[in-house]
Symmetry: C2
Subunit: 342 residues, 2 copies
Amino acid sequence: MPAQDGPRTRSASIWDVARVAGVSQQTVSRVINGKARVSEATRARVLEVIAELGYRPNRLAQALAGGPVRSVTVLTSDTALYGAAATLRGMEEAARTAGFSVGISVLERDSAQADIALRLNRPGEAVMVIAFDDAGVRALRALPADVPVAAAVERRPDDGPDDPWQAWLDDRAAAAHATRYLLGLGHRTVHYVAIPSSTSVLPQRTQGWQEALRAAGRPVPEPLTGGWSPRSGYLAVRSLLADRSVTAVLCGNDDLALGVMRAAREAGRDIPGDLSVVGFDDSPPSAYLNPSLTTVRLDFEGLGRACFGLLHRRLDPQNAPAVPAWSEPELIVRESSGPAPA
Amino acid sequence: MPAQDGPRTRSASIWDVARVAGVSQQTVSRVINGKARVSEATRARVLEVIAELGYRPNRLAQALAGGPVRSVTVLTSDTALYGAAATLRGMEEAARTAGFSVGISVLERDSAQADIALRLNRPGEAVMVIAFDDAGVRALRALPADVPVAAAVERRPDDGPDDPWQAWLDDRAAAAHATRYLLGLGHRTVHYVAIPSSTSVLPQRTQGWQEALRAAGRPVPEPLTGGWSPRSGYLAVRSLLADRSVTAVLCGNDDLALGVMRAAREAGRDIPGDLSVVGFDDSPPSAYLNPSLTTVRLDFEGLGRACFGLLHRRLDPQNAPAVPAWSEPELIVRESSGPAPA
DNA sequence: GATCGCGATGTTATCGGTAACTCTTCTCTG
DNA sequence: CAGAGAAGAGTTACCGATAACATCGCGATC
């Protein structure tokens, strides 16, 4: 094969296509976007040349010139956490399927508000925020008013009307359900190890747990404050487990439950004989733990897909497909929970 | 507050800054990029106006006009897997810190080669590939020659010189080390449950395991073929565990080990009394499993950061900082492994 | 004192597209 | 048969930057 013809083979632009096809560059643009009226013959010819030249529109140029938005940036905090990671997966998949390119920017715990605008490639860039924790919620607030945004949030805001561009899982009902399940097994009450709150008010999971206890007329213990990690769960309950009257612990996520189970082992408590442990999220290892973990399955991926659906609708109300539904939380009963000890 | 002055407040462009500062738009560009010589007075004046107007350069326009590359797209397969997810985190962190915006595109198992170019925002876009599995390796091969790419790969290629733009972990030595560790505990031999290979040749982990056995003059069992999930590990070893002479199992990743441990429980084998299980990756739950898992810790995040370092160097050999080093694999001994049964 | 050289800026072209407006043809009415 | 209306395609401006080239002073050299 002979050397390349030119000094540098720059890949084909819309002009090259136009020249080869013998039409104006604008006509090529029309064909690409399937917009205005172009004769069938011309369209075919242009498509042919596009294929022949291997032409791909430059998305940067399209965006710059004010074409339809085809990119999103996801703002998320720590993707090591299952919920955020799974939501991100759902968002990415939905966006990619819809032909969007997706950017990602991780929020550090202490990232400043002013920092947020810097993460966008251009003013008015479309954004999705995973706002399950404080950093996410702050980022959501810090976004300039002119950016089209959709968010996956922990909770529906109590005050004012719902923001139509937010999606959430019904953590509250799920926590209440899990609590009722434990009470139904004969436990006198249920203790709760909380994940950090994304807001100043009572988190949804904590609230659901409390309501279920109150509704059943049971004592409401002080919730234990955990972090996100197994270690924090371990530390939070270590002292509590000396008290044999504690027979049921609900955890804000599966990682906390992991730590709680280890603390139980060390305290000589048998699960589920002496102690029932229930997690939240149904992270992948849960089913294979020893004992396998009873937990609340949350459809984070579905939530992520729905969140993109909202954004898509916001960007293009005419043509965007319906926002996909996501599954309700579901209690998955496994080995870690059982009847209260006699 | 009165209504906004104009019909629509479009955010400041380089022209607005130039006009307000009383200089040409080119001078503003010079200041932004700190490039050519601009008098100190002018520079100060321009910076002042930039701050005043809250001006942020439009990165799309910068890229279009041929400015320095400040964005990367990461091609990765299933981010539900710990290795890929952690590597991605490292890449994103390093890229963001260096002022790059990062895009992400997940490769489906069967994504076509032709599909790859479509994922790039423009021809010649910088790319990082996480090529631990087949989909990743195929994507790496499918990339056009003109895209600057750096990759995190499973193994150093056997044939030809090293590709200077690839980074990897020494899986082979790590597997050999873990195998020797088990032999040192008195186990007659070690069985291996493999993760799927990214290449047609023998994967590094399998190879290291085999070499260690051979070097010690021990029998080399047929490696079991697992997938990536706990379930596949469970299925792979279920029949094997009936054989009491099997006392040590090394797993290609921690998820497989999770499945193996469950199979052992069901087979009535005690860990580590009857059976030692060693994983690979040191995924987060490992330390809190019951029993906690002996495993090989791999510095995926460091690998990801290094991979970005390579790319950065490739894009800008003059100014890019040195490529950061990453940690060697390290065997973390926990509860799941112990002396061979008498 | 005129020319040279260079620092500091301004001009103009260009990147690869989209949007709005214009210009031809036809075809359909009246 | 003339004029309106619309389909099909071309022209021109613009998006927000960067790069190459041109210009303007001004001190140094001869």
